[in-house]
Symmetry: T
Subunit: 69 residues, 12 copies
């Protein structure tokens, strides 16, 4: 990793199923426009409630990716 | 949402199974006294350990709900 | 708990499966050297990405354990 | 103030006009159920966007009020 | 504690004597309306000054209490 | 909102008039390059001073926008 | 700006009208004792409530000013 | 309080006896140079250890005082 | 202090009496396994409540100690 | 600066030599895709260790740049 | 240090060369008006960019100094 | 890295020369008791002042190291 530069983008993934699934959705959708995705860090975990149950999770992530040379 | 006011309550849900299940338990129990629950935000994720395994998760949430007019 | 003293250690557990599994791995490995593990608190949730999927989760925890008398 | 106890509630006010108006709306609506409102502190200032303009502000506040004796 | 849900309320206690006394006052007054108080966490320690001495301490706490079933 | 992914960009708007005007300027200018703007969150409010008056406000925002499918 | 040193002072301005007016009041009063005021950063926005309306805003600022050579 | 401006200074008081005594020492010493002291807020509580006992407490405070007109 | 290296350990002391006593208990117990204790910093002040009174304080500290050469 | 809008991007620069060199590398590489770079703010300073020496520094920055009109 | 009181001032030093040089400049300039400077703590590290290189570093510090008796 | 567990220790390195040198000193001294050191993160940068110059830097780090299997 030693002479690379990385960019960090913030994205929010959503899922009806789980926190992990919201993370995978965020990464999968972001990968269409961001290449060389390398790591993530969860910044906030939220969600919406419908009829007293979780309607879906919203997980905001920082995504790190390597600048192409 | 534009001319509503929301209240935010903090609750702690527990579960032996998973973080998501602790969130659902917090929402389900709170809904007995709080009406119009609308969103949540995870503030802390903790737990207790018994015999070197997770005994249960404790997830503290802020719960937003609409003031009845 | 009332006249005990507790120490708190920070550890990072990893897992390919889930956040909960990374927590269990951190506790299980730490229990080989730390006795009387009592509670944990999640401090950061990160991970590495490979081919646009989560390669593994890295969950950093504070682990509390009772000082032996 | 010296031998009183205060409770602190978190609320979110909304307004199409301004941040100050969202604060006034939060206080005005909360005052129907909370008596002796004494102070507020802004915790987050957010909003929704429609057609590239602010649709409304959402200001979350902590509201302090004196416990009735 | 394992299948309970807890609510968390924020209160501010005051005392002319000490930080510990402000905490006791907050708990004692809150216990008139909140049942099953279980734990507290100090969030801010402030106070007012009169004639270059502490007039009284103001200690804001989060108070956790068990939801009655 | 439930199966969307959102990106979050940070921008700084400036205005000589007010905090709200700086927010509108940030959104308006950003909308030339970012489509589907959906929400904002104020992160810092600063400004420059000239002759002991506010010369202009600088408000930094996170802007959320929906990924086009 | 490149070979200057700046001092930073914290002040609290109040106003019955608006957040912006409280900022101007803080700067105007501070300018009687602090020369070369250059920038500000809002740190907290609070206020007092009277009869369920904002009685006045209290805005705490960091004020930066250039050391005279 | 409504048309005043306040300045905020940070000081560190020390005491061999208690946290409250360190606060009183900070206020008492500061009052020789700062007039109209009005409130304080504890920011950090530290101390030095000698022979496995607290040698003295160091409590850092923000002190608010009214600008003289 | 100038060419030393220090380690920092986190511990939680408890006491039925006071915050200062919980700090002393944490230091006293830690000193059985950690040599050359030099300073502490309070990170969290919590406690448990029994019958609407403080049952005991829990004070978490960072403890700094000099590496033996 | 008064009627401009700025965007803020997060990047991570690396260097075997120093923190300053990691900052310069982040700016230099980012300047290939971001025009009008104006300021930076260091958010985190980390690094990797090899054979008990720093292998390289990783410095994460927010980079501000002016929107072209 | 045990019965002293310390004041803490915030300053921003600048340098074209390095972070350490900006710290020295802040201390050196502050020492003309503040006596008995004792310690510092770095709070923010920023800088301005010119032609895709660091034009100068801006390091904001808290400076602690002993009150003269 | 994928099925490892890491421990994280906090240490403070000092140096008369530079921030980087304080980091190297912390790592070098820690490596006598901690094996498999892998990464660090700077948490605080402080220092002591003597005769209006930096006497030495104190840099506190979190050090990550792999648990031996």
């Amino acid at each position: 990793m030693s002479d690379n530069v990385y960019a960090v983008s913030k994205v929010v993934g959503t899922s009806k199923k789980s926190i992990e699934d919201a993370i995978e959705n965020a990464i999968s959708t972001s990968s269409k426009t961001l290449k060389n995705l390398d790591w993530f860090e969860v910044k906030e975990t939220r969600g919406y409630i419908d009829k007293d149950k979780v309607a879906y999770y919203q997980v905001s992530l920082e995504l790190g990716f390597r600048y192409e040379k």
